[in-house]
Amino acid sequence: MGPFRRIYGAGPLHLLSALASIAVAGYAAVEIRGLGGAGSVALWFVGSIVVHDLVLLPVYSLVQRVAGRLARVDAMRARPGAPPPPAVLLIDHLRVPAMVAGLLFLLFFPSILQRNGGYEDASGLQSDVYLERWLAITAALFVLSGVLYAIRRGRSAAAYASR
């Protein structure tokens, strides 16, 4: 290992590309500093990392962890002599539509909760339709997931019976 690599921890090309990438960010920061509300930009830049990494992701990981535990309970419920645990789990068919509905809420909550005050001036329309639309989509996702569950469960039982 050469002295550069020993001190720096990687080759010189690594250092050059790291500095280039950070320099681009530095340039953008200088431009942003010249705008009004640079502090607000910094807040939203850092805030988006903090909210995602320390709030959003832990919350849905916790939901998934609980769901995963329930899934294993479901899978281990097999009694002696009963058919082996189903390959199709009810919990999947609940958590998947819940996650998708959650993502839609995350993307469209300003419309759903009518937080977008400028919308009516911009479009000339009332902004009160999005909550019911989101609820209808959420309901449809759960119904669709339920139908898929019934079909998959039926198929897996049929496959087991014909073995």
Binding site: S21, A25, Y27, L35, G36, G37, S40, H52, Q64, A67
Partner: protein, 418 residues
């Protein structure tokens, strides 16, 4: 070590370089498409013309924008550009969140810093994640007209893109080898063949995202990929609906412009109502006149405009926010007005609205725009007079132009030569 700093804390067997690579392979083209169309949109605004500069300026790319002229040839160019920008951005959102979920253990890795090189990598990663989330969040909120911050959207969205692209280039250079190895050892798609019972952690102990003490999987990799992929597809359909229009608009249920206005000639998407622009029926009433200046000057009433040569063209209004509406416009070709004031050879045309203040109360067009025979000072739409909300007494409509540059409630038109 406790909690997330402990590698045993991270238990999903799905996490690992192969899944991260697959998500990245899908995410990268979408992100690059979104970034490229964003820069093309900046070109379309022709920021070097009078009054068109966007807050924050063009930055170091100014010479590029000066050198590039936006064409008027294909009327749907801007509609497609912005449709792709918004659709690809929304399609990328579930992939981005899934990717961050896969690699989150790296945030908590120990030791936090192993070397100077490692510290720079982590700094660049923070710029990548922060820049990407910032650009996504501001874009998603902007199309919903939601501004919970005190900066101006356009320059912040624009310069944050530099931060994320710079960090992305470094990230790709660092991780291309990881991706290549993951695909060589597992195949690009082979892990998708395994069902739940066959889902095991990847055997790459050196990778921080691979769990050291995995629990049994509660969903297979193909189940995970199917859920993320179909969510991405669903968002694609939803956001494409407000861009493509027609019956597909009914599928754009949560999209801001997935709404129906009715069946009358003026019942289509509005970007700014007359009331919100402060336009009243006195200014825009029978006493309204249009002042056209160039080498000569002319003042025209609406009746006089109606006696001039008229043309009818089907043209879209295409918004930067990714929605489009196509209508049939009738009015005086802009070239006829240029001829009237002897300015056929002008370098730009500045159009001002009756609107007294606010952004986009005026916009300038280059020669490619105002000499196109389809470019109109429209007086009618779908055979009826324009409504107040659509720009009565007269509005500009030009092929492939960003929607807001089609000035409504036109008061003056000035042809200039350099």
């Amino acid at each position: 070590m406790m909690g997330p700093f402990d590698r045993d804390f991270w238990r999903s067997p799905l996490r690992g370089p192969w899944l991260a690579s697959l998500l990245s392979a899908a995410l990268l083209p979408l992100i690059l498409l979104t970034a490229a169309t964003g820069f093309f949109s900046h070109v379309a605004y022709e920021t070097e013309l009078t009054g068109n500069a966007l807050g924050g300026g063009d930055g170091i790319l100014a010479p590029v924008y000066r050198a590039l002229d936006w064409p008027a040839g294909w009327a749907y160019l801007y509609a497609v550009n912005q449709g792709v920008h918004i659709v690809a951005g929304f399609a990328a959102a579930p992939l981005l969140l899934a990717k961050l979920w896969v690699v989150i253990p790296k945030l908590w890795e120990r030791p936090a810093v192993r070397s100077v090189a490692h510290a720079l990598e982590r700094l660049s990663l923070a710029l990548l994640v922060g820049g990407t989330l910032f650009v996504f969040v501001t874009g998603v909120f902007n199309i919903q007209i939601y501004y919970p911050w005190s900066f101006s959207f356009v320059p912040a969205h624009y310069y944050a893109t530099f931060i994320f692209l710079g960090a992305l280039a470094f990230h790709i250079a660092l991780k291309l080898g990881v991706m290549r190895t993951a695909f060589r050892e597992n195949g690009v798609l082979r892990p998708l063949r395994r069902d739940l019972a066959g889902t095991r952690a990847e055997a790459v102990p050196a990778s921080e995202s691979v769990p050291t003490d995995p629990r049994p999987a509660s969903i297979s990799r193909r189940g995970f990929v199917a859920v993320v992929g179909s969510t991405s597809l669903g968002l694609t359909i939803m956001m494409a609906g407000q861009s493509i229009g027609g019956p597909l608009r009914n599928l754009a249920l949560l999209a801001p412009r997935g709404r129906d206005y009715g069946s009358g000639p003026n019942d289509f998407q509005i970007n700014k109502t007359a009331a919100s622009a402060g336009i009243d029926s006195v200014q825009a009433g029978p006493t309204w006149t249009l002042r056209v200046s160039g080498r000569e000057e002319a003042t025209l009433t609406r009746d006089e405009l109606l006696t001039m040569e008229q043309a009818t063209h089907e043209l879209p209004i295409a918004c930067v926010e990714g929605w489009t509406t196509k209508q049939t416009w009738t009015g005086v070709p802009l070239v006829a007005l240029a001829r009237l004031v002897g300015s056929m050879d002008a370098d730009e045309l500045t159009v001002e609205s009756l609107q007294e203040s606010g952004s986009f109360r005026d916009a300038s067009l280059g020669p490619a725009q105002f000499t196109d025979p389809r470019s109109l000072l429209a007086l009618k739409v779908n055979g009826a007079d324009l409504s107040m909300d659509h720009g009565f007494p007269a509005r500009v409509i030009v092929p492939a132009l960003p929607g807001v540059h089609n000035t409504k409630w036109v008061a003056t038109m000035t042809f200039r030569s350099a």
